[in-house]
Amino acid sequence: MMTDSEMMQVNEQVSNGENITGAEALLRCLIEEGVDTIFGYPGGAIMPVYDKLLDYQDKIKHILTRHEQGAAHAAQAYAMVTGKPGVCFATSGPGATNLVTGIANAYLDSVPVVFITAQVVSTLIGSDAFQETDILGISMPVVKWNAQVKKPQELPETIAKAFYIATTGRPGPVLIDITKDAQIEKLNFKYRKCNYLRSYNPHIPLHRREIESAAIMINHAEKPLILAGHGILISGAEKELLQFAEKTGIPVAMTLLGLSAFPSGHRLCAGFLGMHGNYAANTLTNEADLIIAIGMRFDDRVTGNLKKYAKNARIIHIEIDEAEINKNVIVDIEINNDAKEVLTELIPLVEKKSYEYWIREFRIRDKVEYDKVIKPETRPEAGKIKMGEVIRMVSDLTKGDAIIVTDVGQNQMAVARYYEFTAPGSLVTSGGMGTMGFGLPAAVGAKIGRSDKQVVAFIGDGGFQMTIQELGTILHYKVPVKLIILNNSFLGMVRQWQDMFFEKRYASTEMVNPDFVTIASGYSIPARSVSERKDLADSLTEMLKAEGPYLLEIKIDKEANVLPMVEPGASVSEVTLTYKS
């Protein structure tokens, strides 16, 4: 650890162009980019960097996760809740390959994470050296950009490019692979942030003609619907979306990653889209005469059968990534730009309107969904505990203001359906990739990023055991996250599909589980298990009031299905509301 005067000396040396090692230069670059937290795991090739971390520990906090995949997910969640890029370290070989699921997850969900992997000494590259792997080649399809640094003097420019690329345009993960010799050798350190690359320009000029055409189409629509995606949150356009919707009177439905972009209780909120989305939002997509899709990519889980999707509607697509336009759905007007910039331009051009008859259609369907699905799920009178009632209770207790982390599967869909989000950016979930095991490490990353917020994770008993080792990270850093294990002793979503589409043949989905309370106690995490409805409110309150971390296992109905469902291959207007197995 350096004293202040030593640190000042170092600073002075640097400004005078004093030589420092590549390892130290890397940390200096990160500090220049405003990084103060790194998630990672050391190993042979990255040891020079870790050695230098000790000297900089008052500026950069390193969180040692229990597996590199955990570090990757934690860094992603950190980025999602802070709006700053996440940073993740791993060593060469298995360290790097263990990141791949996390990198792919960040790529599909457009989250800026700078992955730094170490590589064997440059003279050994290509020789199948110990812990050598071609991580550039392996990660290539799932990064926005990657590069290798073999000479220390290339390091500052490469890191600057990495941050610029990760955080601008449609954000995404980047990976920089640094050879061990480049970490050890010295360079003359100078850092300049990158703000321009000839081949990559995230600032697209606004095309006013398309925006004007869109405004005309919007002003003439009779049954318009807004589909809001993650792009709203990334762009920080929640206020503009609200203003746009309120002025035009157009209802807003959200994709999974778009949830929390529009307030849940708002009269224009049409809820959640897609396979387990709200009845009105899905079915009325096929009734709408105009769809305004903003910052979303018409994922197959949103559209259902493409051949029967939104056939009565003209489509305006506002999207920053040109490659997403006309990819799945052919649109009428494409506006290839940032959501906030476009909405700001569009708002003055649209007329103030209201669509009472059209909104009524939503309310009618909402009532149907409430009676058939929501009421029995959130207010059951008898039987085993339901996922929906747990989530709605947490929603009420936290007033919709907590950061909610989910794993993947039934727990995730139930959260999307029943938590009433009020704060933008308060959902951390794995969307495109659907990575089981995301929840626990993501909860750690989210809490470290936003220690001021209550962070509650909903995780199934299956996904929990995929990254269960991260309980060690919670113990080590005393991360006060609240973990709710929704335990049905099944891989619930797969079981649901077996129930509905595989004649109830439960192949490898029933789980023999450990005693989660005992496991938590091994990590000194207070824990409780409940299986009775009468204990639910009391245990949740106890959990939320706990100062430190807390694990609450809730034994829920073993064979419950998440409904409604747009079955695979079905159109969004063919929604299964009830299912009797």
């Binding site: 950009w145 690359l197 081949s199 000029p205 095309h207 006013r208 040109e322 490659a323």
Partner: protein, 186 residues
């Protein structure tokens, strides 16, 4: 309906760019009929010419995904009638097989081929042209004792008036654009 498209890409000289581009095609199970890499008229800019057979819709999708790559400067998609293109082929043929009649004279005159080397055992013939023209010559030489045959990938020049430099200048201008001084660009 599938047809032949020539994709011309101008890229930065970044290691791995070729892999990134081919990954986009292999994911969609699009076979690359030919590929050529070379320098371009602009210093430091690489040019790749790919020929693929696919649908108009698909070629647009993959072209947009290629354009999205950080190190790709500009992607152009053309049908064969929108470009001037050539391929080059070399043939190694047994000299004995060509000595009867006036085969050599015929090849040189009607196919506009060139003879690059003559030895008692073999001759090397060069032919530049479109794929069909090269194939025609190939069929004629096959019975004469063909020892080796190789054909290059397509190289193509576009007929469009606007050149890469103009696009590069536009990119520089767009970079200077700030949201607070919006102008109508189209």
């Amino acid at each position: 309906m599938k047809q032949e498209y020539t994709i011309s890409l101008f890229t930065e000289d970044h290691i791995g760019i070729l892999s990134q581009i081919t990954i986009i095609l292999t994911r969609r199970q699009i076979n690359i009929e030919s590929i050529t890499a070379s320098e371009s008229a602009v210093k430091g800019v690489q040019m790749l010419t790919l020929v693929v057979r696919t649908t108009a819709e698909m070629v647009q999708k993959v072209a947009r995904q290629m354009q999205k790559l950080v190190d790709v400067l500009k992607v152009f998609v053309h049908t064969s009638d929108e470009i001037i293109y050539q391929e080059i082929a070399l043939f190694k043929v047994k000299t004995k097989g060509l000595m009867s009649g006036n085969i050599i004279d015929h090849i040189v005159r009607t196919h506009y081929a060139r003879i690059l080397e003559v030895s008692p055992e073999y001759m090397v013939i060069e032919k530049t042209g479109h794929k069909t023209e090269i194939n025609n010559l190939l069929h004629e030489l096959e019975p004469c004792g063909l020892l080796q045959f190789v054909r290059s990938g397509r190289i193509a020049i576009t007929k469009q008036v606007k050149e890469l430099n103009a696009y590069l200048e536009e990119m520089d201008e767009a970079h200077q654009y700030k949201p607070d001084k919006i102008e109508a660009f189209n």
